[in-house]
């Protein structure tokens, strides 16, 4: 099975000898439906192979469910502001689709990609939460999961509300609507615009890719129906012509199956990577950019506050008030806070710049693979189709002579 975005997962970390090259390689496998009725869910087997010293051993297997992955993503998001946290597949699809084989496979693949991307990121791979996720027993995990009240854990209605707030906040901030605090950084402006436009383009591409999958299925279906009809017509005709019809009908049915298969491949290896790309860009837009804006605003607010405190302090010193000591203390604390805030902001800026480079590289690779698979698949399909039809020609020629 092709996992298009594994990129070079593990390839440069092959365990030749245990301690030669550090490696952390994870696979998410074996989806199993557990529970009953409304509470049913899918569990996955997460297998970790590593020689990182912080880990308990060379191999560990745990059972995780989707909300565990969400917990991990939220924790990373909190701790590593400025880093582009890899995106997760969507929470829940349409009810009846939720347990379809295709959906489960898509999700499994996406979760596998998610966790491996984390493992390959030089900062994120050090995360303690990652270690917990990969190693903790199920009860611990459950406890942690239920404690988490991260932004993404809310109910859909709340989520929508928060989403809207975040969106308006983000767009206000990003578009500079909220007057007071705005980075006046032309390069950053350019980046933000790029991200916004990129999302639009990619969404469109993904939409068409999905439609293309559907078209393959539809063509397969109509070929199948056509094949059946042609066979029946052949039965009417009889003799050599009837046989010719019958053969053609059979070929059409064969190709129908082939098309359905290709539709599936297209979904997994072309549409899904595009979807993943969209998710990643959306995540940058909604999370990272928002975080940076928050950090910037916080820093600005603190700077403002400090200025006021300074003025106040000077006043107090002049009047030799006995509140000076207290004020000085406050001032010093604020100063520390402000420095902290500035550090945090600058860290985010630095990280974002680094991440951008890494992101672009990664996406070129991911897309390159996806394109390659797409082209290969289409070429193979077309060749199969050509061969199938061609094979009918000798008999047809024989008929007319």
């Amino acid at each position: 099975m092709i996992t298009a975005q594994r990129s070079s997962s593990g390839s440069s970390h092959s365990p030749r000898s245990p301690s030669s090259q550090p490696y952390l390689s994870i696979s998410v496998t074996d989806p199993v439906k557990l529970g009953n009725g409304v509470q049913a869910y899918i569990s996955y087997r997460v297998i970790t192979k590593t020689n990182f010293p912080e880990y308990q051993g060379p191999e560990k297997i745990v059972i995780r469910r989707y909300s565990d992955f969400v917990w991990l993503r939220d924790r990373l998001f909190e701790k590593y502001k400025g880093v582009f946290i890899p995106p997760l597949p969507e929470k829940s699809a349409v009810e009846k689709f939720r347990f379809s084989a295709e959906f489960i496979e898509l999700r499994r693949q996406a979760l596998d990609v998610f966790v491996n991307r984390i493992a390959l990121h030089h900062e994120l791979q050090q995360s303690e939460d990652l270690r917990t996720f990969l190693q903790a027993d199920e009860e611990t995990m459950e406890r942690l999961r239920s404690q988490e009240t991260g932004i993404f854990k809310k109910k859909p209605a709340d989520l929508m509300q928060i989403f809207k707030e975040v969106q308006t906040k983000v767009s206000d901030v990003v578009l500079g609507k909220e007057k007071p605090v705005e980075e006046s950084n032309p390069e950053y402006e350019k980046l933000k615009n790029y991200i916004f436009e990129l999302e639009n383009h990619l969404s469109e591409a993904q939409k068409h890719a999905y439609r293309l999958v559907k078209r393959h299925r539809e063509l397969g279906q109509s070929l199948s129906d056509f094949g059946k009809a042609v066979k029946l017509l052949g039965a009417c005709e009889g003799d050599a012509l009837g046989k010719a019809f019958s053969d053609l009908g059979a070929k059409a049915e064969t190709l129908s199956v082939r098309l359905q298969k290709e539709a599936h491949q297209l979904l997994m290896n072309f549409e899904e990577p595009l979807k993943d790309y969209v998710r990643a860009v959306q995540s940058i837009k909604q999370a990272t950019i928002a975080e940076r804006a928050n950090a910037f605003r916080h820093q600005c607010e603190l700077a403002e506050t400090i200025k006021l405190k300074e003025i106040n302090l000077d006043k107090l010193m002049l009047t030799r008030s006995d509140k000076v000591g207290e004020a000085e203390l406050e001032y010093r604390e604020l100063k520390l806070e402000s420095e902290e805030a500035t550090r945090r902001f600058e860290n985010i800026v630095r990280l974002m710049n680094e991440e951008m480079v890494r992101f672009q590289d990664q996406k070129t690779l991911d897309m390159g693979i996806a394109f390659h698979e797409f082209a290969k698949g289409q070429a193979r399909l077309a060749n199969n189709i050509a061969d199938a039809w061609r094979s009918l020609l000798p008999k047809l020629e024989a008929c007319s002579s």
Binding site: F371, R390, L393, L396
Partner: protein
Amino acid sequence: MMGSENQGFEEAHIDASREEMESLVLDDPSNNSNGTKSFSHHRSAMSSLADSHHLLSRPMVAAPADSDPLLAPPSFRDFRNPNVAADNSSYIEPPSYADVIFSPFDENAVHEIDGVDSPGRSSDSSVSLSRSPSSSSDYIKITVSNPQKEQETSNSLVPGSNTYITYLITTRTNITGFNGSEFSVRRRFKDVVTLSDRLAESYRGFFIPPRPDKNLVESQVMQKQEFVEQRRVALEKYLRRLATHPVIRKSDELKVFLQVQGKLPLPTSTDVASRMLDGAVKLPKQLFGESVVVAPEEVVQPAKGGRDLLRLFKELRQSVTNDWVGSKPPVAEEDKEFLEKKGRMHDLEQQLSNASQQAESLVKAQQDMGETMGELGLTFIKLTKFENEEAIFNSQRVRAADMKNVATAAVKASRFYRELNAHTVKHLDTLHEYLGLMLSVHGAFSDRSSALLTVQTLISELSSLHSRAEKLEAASSKIFGGDKSRIRKIEELKETIRVTEDAKHVAIREYERIKENNRTELERLDRERHADFLNMLKGFVLNQAGYAEKIANVWAKVAEETSAYAREST
């Protein structure tokens, strides 16, 4: 992006296909025997080979108008003048089946091209069925064009409302029965109805192509260009089908229709209808006294369309008798072979209908595939442009280049799908054509059954006349010296019997004649259908294979261009 590299290929492609066609035309004189290709071969040999490159325009013409700039299909113009290469031609080096795509079957499409003054749209598609005229050099080429509005000259109740459309019907032929080799007339739709009705009367038992529908729509719609164009196309198809029918093409009715200027000198159906009214006038006389003789010459027509209402009633009664009494009527349809064939026709019709429907679905699915592929390509082109414009990192430029390859391939593949589909439409149209032909078959079979009914009725009548005569004779013989009035009646009866006997003989002859027509037509239908279907299958398969190969090549190129990623991913 796509245009420059392919200009040369496009011309080469046109030339290649032209050569291909030439060689096909020259290579197959031997096919006259089964007559499948002879007719069309000769036509294509006759018409200038410059027309051959129109073949390439056929698929493009059928493609839906694209709104996207990059996919502007090469227009008719471009192909007529091969020196003006289209901007965005999609042809790649012709792979092995590319040439064969333009198979013998497609040659039949060539003779469509002459109807060029009509806006050539896909609805123009082919009546490219095989017909086997007696001699391979016969041809009739009919074109319908130039619709014009004309005023009704006769006084009408509502002044100014009687306008109608006439069409210019141009015929080119080398058949000797016509006066000349090229001539035109103007006809209106009513004339076509007349022609069709007269043919139905004269050629009972034949599979007469069904005429276009009457379309009872209001006069406003009648004038609309779309409606007029639809009708023009339908009329052309109809007349061409008549011209390819081996018997009907020689008919006087058709000759008159195609040649005689001015008013069409065939009795119109309204005349016939008014004859029916005359018949209604006659009815009381018939019922209450005067002899009820069916003139022999009348029995060659079915009772239904004629003036003799009484005969109509009698035959109706007979058919009811046939149904209800269950006893074998005097002459029954005993021809087992015929009954079997009839059953087969019925099955065939059902399956044709089904296949025809599924063919339409297939065509739609292929079209959708092409469209979506094209849209995908366009989106990637936009993305490419965007990334290139906004590029800060080299990785973006690399990605943009990759996308461009994919986009180009997708757009090319899209064009191939659409071309393939245009061909598919033409090939699978054969199914629709034969489905339509089933109507003619029904007509011919019903001619047979109505002729049989006439015979049965006459026989029943004769038997009842005979028994009346017997009774009279028996009664009369009891009276010594004869019963003058009875004797007179017997004489009259005997006269009636004689005439009716004649009528019966004529009716039987007619019935046998129609049976024979049925038989020969069935044979012809089977033969031609066999050949046409085979051609259809071959053409369909060739096209599918050929275009699949082209599409495969397009994608193989991209797979090659992105092969570096494959190595990295393992």
